[in-house]
Each structure stands twice: as C-alpha cells, then as structure tokens.
Amino acid sequence: MRRIALAAAVALIAASGNALAEGEDEGPFSEGSQAKNWNLLGQEKARFEAKVVDVFCEVAGDCPENCGDGCRQLGLLRSSDGVLVLANKNVQPAFTGANLDLLPYCNQEVEVDGLLVGLPEYTPAKMYQVQLIRRKGEAEWSKTNRWTKEWAEANPEAAKAKGPWFRKDPRINALIERDGYLGLGLEKDEAFKKYLFEE
C-alpha cells in the first residue's frame, strides 16, 4: 500500500511538472513577469505593485513597530484591487519563507514578481511566492534570497559546518534528537529507518 501511495505522490509531482506548457501559467497579473517556473499546482506568473504589510495588523488592527520585526507573516496589499496577498515563500529552494525578504520594505510601496500558487479545491485564494522585489520607481530588482544569509549570521557556529542550513539548525536538530524524524519517538524512528534503509 505504501509503495502505491508513494508512487502516486511522485506521479503527482511529475504530472505537475509536465503539465505546464508555454503560456499555461499565465494569469491576470502575468504581463511583464520574469518569474521562474517552479512547476507548482495552479501556478500563475504574477507581477504587481503592492504595499508590504504585517498581516496581523492588516486583519486584526494589532500593529507593532516595523511589521513585527520579522516575527510576523507579511503580506502584499495589491494596489490595483486592494486584495491582501499572503506572501508564503521566497525564491530560495531551501524551505524558507518570505518574511525576512519583505521586512526591509515594511509599509512601503513595492513592485513584486513571482508566482501565485494553489488550486481552488484546496484554497479559495492563491498564495504567493515572491521571487523579485523592488521599491516602486526603482530600476533594479532584488532577488528574495536573504533568508539563508540571515540564518548564517544568527547561527555562526552552525553555519561553519558543511551542508544546507536545515541540516545544521540547532533547534531542528534538538527536536529530531528528542522526537525522531517522524516525530513519533526514537524507538519508532529506529524501526522505520531499518525498514527504509535495510529491507
């Protein structure tokens, strides 16, 4: 059963990758977009002007200084229609969100380029992957790749080791050491690893 399910999951990834023909990821905000294709579900290229906002502030009126200083999720209040777009991801293929890349633009008008993502079966509103950002009127785009640099500055000892940040992060490693990779305890983890690597 698990092999069938796994194959189905892999097939879905492959299908989503093959599904996007030229122009198939165009949407109402795609004009002029340079966004890179990530072969994601419901993907649409989207370039638009917006104001960077603290989502909690925007929906609930709880508004600390500087959009929460990186602790809060940030969004993009789209200029053309006033829609609050949740910025879910930055451009790095490294399990990293968009908040640290948007924070320098807190409450500023910007232009962003990226991908709107998600299928209506699962979400009435698409999430946004911000790939490029610039202040309104600026010529140069910036890639949204700050997250790993900030992590390395905050974790200088861990950053010295080889490998990606998520293999070296002290907090993640402490939780895995305590609960295992499956989160079910070390005993179940060991049994599963035997199945995975030895059987």
Binding site: A9, C57, R72, V85, F95, G97, L100, G118, Y122, R167
Partner: protein
C-alpha cells in the same frame, strides 16, 4: 468644533493602514493538524495527503523554522493560517510554533477572513493529541531525503 473635527481627522490619518481595514474576529473552536502550508498548497513535494503527518514531520520542522506560514488543517479540509499562538506572535519560526509541528490540536481562537484566506489567532489550546497522523505508513517520508541515509 472645527478644531475638534480636524483633530479627529488627523488622528485617523495617523493610524496604521491595518488599523483602519481591520475587522473584529469571530470566536471559533477549531480542531486540526498543524501543517506546513507551502508544501500543502503548492504540490512541490506531492499531493496534500502526503505532506502532512509523520511522513512530512521533518520537512514541517524545516519549513516552520524557515518562516513559512504555519496552518491548522481542520477535518473538513479548511486551512487556517496561524497569526498568533497562545499569546506568541512569533509565528515565523519561533520556538512555540516549532514545537507543535504535525500535532493535532483543539483550540479556541479568533477567526479573521480576508480575500479568501482564513487567518486564525489561537488563543488557547484546549487539547494537544500530539502527532497522530501516521502518514509514513502510506508515504514513507516526504521528501525522500528527509531522513539522511546512515553512513556505512
């Protein structure tokens, strides 16, 4: 009187934009699994059922620590984006939100709906059943490299 009205207008203009657009939250009781919303909605790792629970627990830790929005996936399939968790608004990789990844929780909270997205302030977790979705039994681990191969 004119000075008072002018003063009020200036006070309103001085408010953050969010304070003007904000709404009252709706009191709700939610039961659901804490999930990584990027993998769930984007399909980057596979179908939604494969990117929840034990199969995806390590990746959920990575994504939560990486600041990707954390959600609560309710039994009816609705996803609620968490904006605050039991008084802690550090939801972009904070210790509290990292600790509860993949757990099944019941919570009292405030719901805010905006432009098709459900935003949730988790006020009080009334029960935490831990990790009960044994998705690794069907999917092994997603992504497959989540558990590093032991060195020979």
């Amino acid at each position: 009187m004119r000075a008072l009205i002018t003063g009020l207008m200036l006070a309103v203009l001085a408010l953050p934009a969010g304070a003007l657009a904000a709404t009252q939250g709706e009191r709700v009781k939610i039961k659901g699994e804490i999930i990584d919303t990027w993998c769930y909605f984007s399909g980057v790792m596979g179908g939604p059922d494969s990117v929840v629970g034990s199969a995806h627990h390590t990746c959920a830790l990575w994504c939560a620590a990486g600041g990707i929005p954390v959600g609560v996936l309710a039994e009816d399939g609705t996803v609620y984006m968490v904006l605050k968790y039991e008084g802690d608004d550090h939801v972009t990789g904070g210790d509290t939100i990292l600790e509860v990844q993949s757990d099944l929780i019941s919570a009292d909270g405030l719901l805010y709906q905006r432009d098709g997205i459900n935003y949730l302030v988790v006020e009080k977790v009334t029960a935490n059943d831990g990790l009960v979705n044994l998705s690794h039994e069907d999917y092994d681990v997603i992504p497959p490299f989540a558990i590093p191969k032991p060195k020979q």
